[in-house]
């Protein structure tokens, strides 16, 4: 399949390793990956902070960049939620302005092929095992936009469970917000910190080495506290775990179905 990546502004700038991992997984699965060069931002930060007229101006660029895509894959639950929840009404406003004739129809045609990364794997491709190997204890943070916004359900965890060598531990209060909330984290820094404290307690209680999620914005926030407190616990986007593979010398054994030694190192895409 021809897969177009919408990397999103913050992943492009702050988390390029997530994009690289996503490309790796998609190509490993045999898909042809494209990256439309003129892409920037989905408009979420502006929209959710109240600058909706500014967000509006970002939609035509998105449509132009991804027009005719077979599938648009995005490594961010919140950006996809933004697009699904608000692009239809934003398109209507643009169309009504008279400057963008036909944009409603274009958005309606485009949105059904826009997928969050894990969603693309589980729902569009029907996969759970993507051939990853990651011999570590991992806990998964569901992200509000993944859980409630996109209704990902068990999808991301089903992908993780299929990873060879993984020790997946359920995060307590998995449905509760970590306190990031975009500009909320700086506008209400104190409350955000209090929410984060509870989330970090939960992560530490699992004994996990890695906290994974489908959204680097939550992870940036959780990681920030894990690092400040010198917990030694890392965060990784789901794509990075799925991109991890055995070292070449043991890869053959894995492929041939042999049990992998517990102490072997995985190639981690970071």
């Amino acid at each position: 399949m021809r897969v177009s990546i919408f990397i999103t502004c913050y992943n492009d700038t702050l988390f390029p390793q997530t994009g690289r991992a996503m490309v790796h997984v998609l190509e490993r699965l045999g898909h042809h990956v494209e990256f439309p060069a003129g892409q920037t931002c989905c408009g979420q930060m502006h929209y959710n902070t109240g600058y909706q007229t500014d967000a509006l101006t970002m939609l035509p660029r998105f449509v132009e960049q991804f027009r005719g895509a077979e599938a648009v894959v995005v490594p961010s639950t919140s950006c996809v939620t933004m697009m699904r929840d608000h692009y239809p009404s934003m398109a209507q406003r643009l169309e009504a302005s008279g400057k963008y004739p036909g944009i409603v129809a274009e958005v309606n045609a485009l949105l059904p092929v826009v997928f969050e990364f894990s969603e693309f794997l589980t729902k569009r491709l029907g996969l759970t095992d993507v051939g990853a190997y990651f011999p570590h204890r991992v806990t998964y943070h569901a992200s509000c936009h993944g859980l409630r916004g996109l209704g990902l359900g068990d999808g991301p965890e089903s992908l993780l469970r299929a990873v060879k060598g993984i020790d997946l531990v359920t995060l307590p209060d998995i449905e509760r917000c970590c306190g990031f909330g975009g500009t909320f984290a700086v506008k209400n820094a104190e409350v955000s910190s209090a929410m984060l404290a509870e989330k970090v307690q939960g992560v530490l209680s699992t004994g996990a080495e890695v906290c994974a999620a489908c959204d680097n914005s939550c992870l940036m926030h959780i990681e920030g506290a894990l690092h400040r407190q010198r917990t030694g616990v890392h965060t990784m986007h789901l794509a990075e775990i799925l991109a991890s593979e055995p070292e070449p010398n043991i890869a053959a054994e894995v492929r041939s179905g042999d049990v992998v030694a517990g102490d072997s190192e995985a190639v981690v895409w970071v």
């Binding site: 003129g38 920037t40 909706q52 409350v191």
Partner: protein
């Protein structure tokens, strides 16, 4: 300690903004423990009884559609209610605002009281809290007795409600006992919840049997019959509705429902959402006056007080669908940390964050639409499917409109930053340049940690909130698009060589 309310009504016009109020509450360990405990317990109870109904989503759907329908035909239903209530012997009054509502209630109470001692008994009512009725009654020389246990705790403790359904949720049993010992003169009062409830029973019993005037709110007004429905647990509501000679009910105009049969939906979703019960102990429905049963005089005050302003905003009007169950408060991770007082209004939590700014002038509550991480837990539990995050975002845009009108944008750091970012995102070239600049600019801030990774532990200005408790991973040397372009180039080279 914490945010003292000192018996002063929570008034958005004078309350500190949410961030400031929250900061002081976050240091109150006892309050936070009480709020965490209470909201966790109610959430779990709610989840259990909601899980018992396989048609829960259909009930929410019906509830939401019913409320939307009611608002669409609100004027017709209000007139229908008025006509039917009047026919059944009730007297209907209208109030444009809080002052008018207070004036009507005080006048009716005085007429009813006559020569009797100047007292009224009251059922818990957020609407009377909204208009500060108790203070108005006291000013007129009338003593109001709150009869709901939680409201009694609030009244005797000179406190303010912090939750729509469980107003004293921020107090634990030891704190409540202290208040009762002091105010009811019961030095030997026991400490179990049962002891405390028993104390309230004997304290109020005498008043129920004696005071001939009651004031209540309403859960629902039935247009079809002119009936009123009140939902409660303790029986204090029934006491106030049936024993006094005069009953004065005050309700927002949003409380109307079209037909009696509509209660079959609302009385299923409300108790399960509010207290996690299949049905609360008592629902009372009455129509006007009924000879030989209940009050001889019955008044209903229909109050606007900003509700029509909410109705006029097509994106905000679904706020009026609220049936005051409080489920959004219990589910909210922000409320969980701060409790209700930080919201500076009798309506706290997610519903308060959208209701208060709309009922008041926006400038009195500009911080409230931002008091949310937009996590969506409130929408998920709302029994009438109010899309609270959507309304929050809409109200944020109204705040921004006000703040950035004309040249004001130039004096607002956030607005300037957002406008600049907007212009970057409109051009890929400018976006790339900004990525480069940011990487250069972080030079002085980024420090290597033990493992050699670069982290930022201090940020200036608006972003300072971030680094109070978090580090920030330094920007990597290469953006994704740079990596991609390099890769494409080398692929081309490889392809060309082959």
């Amino acid at each position: 300690m914490g945010l003292s309310t000192d018996g002063q009504a929570l008034d958005p016009r004078t309350a500190p903004e949410f961030q400031t109020a929250a900061r002081s509450v976050l240091n109150d360990a006892q309050l936070r423990k009480n709020v965490r405990h209470a909201t966790t317990v109610i959430q779990n109870k709610r989840a259990k009884v909601v899980g018992e109904l396989p048609d829960w989503q259909e009930l929410r759907e019906a509830g939401g559609a019913l409320r939307e329908h009611t608002m669409k035909f609100l004027d017709a239903y209000l007139e229908q209610f008025e006509a039917n209530c009047t026919r059944a012997g009730g007297v209907v009054h209208w109030a444009r605002d809080a002052a008018e509502a207070r004036e009507i209630v005080v006048r009716l109470a005085k007429e009813s009281i006559g020569d009797a001692p100047s007292e009224v008994i009251k059922i818990k009512s957020m609407t009377t809290e909204e208009i500060g009725l108790n203070a108005a009654l006291q000013e007129a020389g009338i003593t109001p007795y709150e009869t709901d246990l939680a409201e009694l705790i609030i009244q005797l403790g000179k406190d303010q409600p912090s939750h729509i359904v469980v107003p004293a949720l921020h107090k634990n049993r030891a704190q409540i006992r202290e208040i009762f010992q002091r105010e009811m003169h019961l030095p030997h009062l026991g400490e179990t919840p049962q002891d405390l409830a028993d104390a309230a029973r004997s304290f109020l019993r005498e008043k129920f049997l004696r005071v001939p005037t009651a004031v209540s709110g309403a859960n629902f007004l039935v247009a079809e019959t002119g009936g009123v429905c009140i939902v409660e647990s303790e029986g204090n509501g029934r006491m106030c509705l049936t024993l006094p000679r005069t009953l004065i009910t005050i309700a927002g105009i949003d409380k109307v429902v079209p037909r009696f049969a509509d209660l079959e939906v609302l009385l299923q979703v409300l108790p399960r959402s509010a207290t996690g019960e299949r049905m609360n102990p008592y629902n009372s429905i009455w129509t006007g006056v009924h000879p030989g049963d209940g009050p001889e005089q019955f008044h209903v005050v229909l109050m606007d007080n900003g509700r029509t302003d909410v109705l006029a905003d097509e994106h905000g009007r679904e706020t009026l669908h609220c049936i005051r169950c409080g489920a959004c408060q219990n589910a909210c991770p922000v409320y969980r940390q701060t409790g209700g007082h930080a919201y500076g209004s009798v309506y706290a939590g997610p519903i308060g964050a959208i209701l208060t700014p709309q009922l008041q002038k926006m400038e009195h509550a500009e911080s409230l639409p931002y008091a949310s991480s937009l996590c969506g837990a409130c929408y998920e539990v709302c029994p009438v499917k109010i899309n609270i995050p959507e309304v929050l975002v809409h109200l944020r845009s109204r705040v921004v409109e006000r703040k950035t009108a004309g040249l004001r944008v130039l004096t607002n750091a956030e607005a300037l930053a957002m406008k600049t970012a907007g212009s970057l995102f409109r051009s890929e070239r400018r976006f790339r340049a900004a990525q480069r600049l940011a990487r250069m600019g972080q030079g002085v801030l980024a420090r290597k940690d033990g493992s050699g990774e670069k982290w930022i532990s201090w940020l200036p200005g608006l972003l300072g909130g971030w680094t109070q408790v978090r580090d920030l991973h330094a920007l990597p040397d290469e953006t994704f698009r740079q990596w991609w372009e390099e890769r494409e180039k080398s692929k081309k080279h490889a392809g060309g060589a082959a």
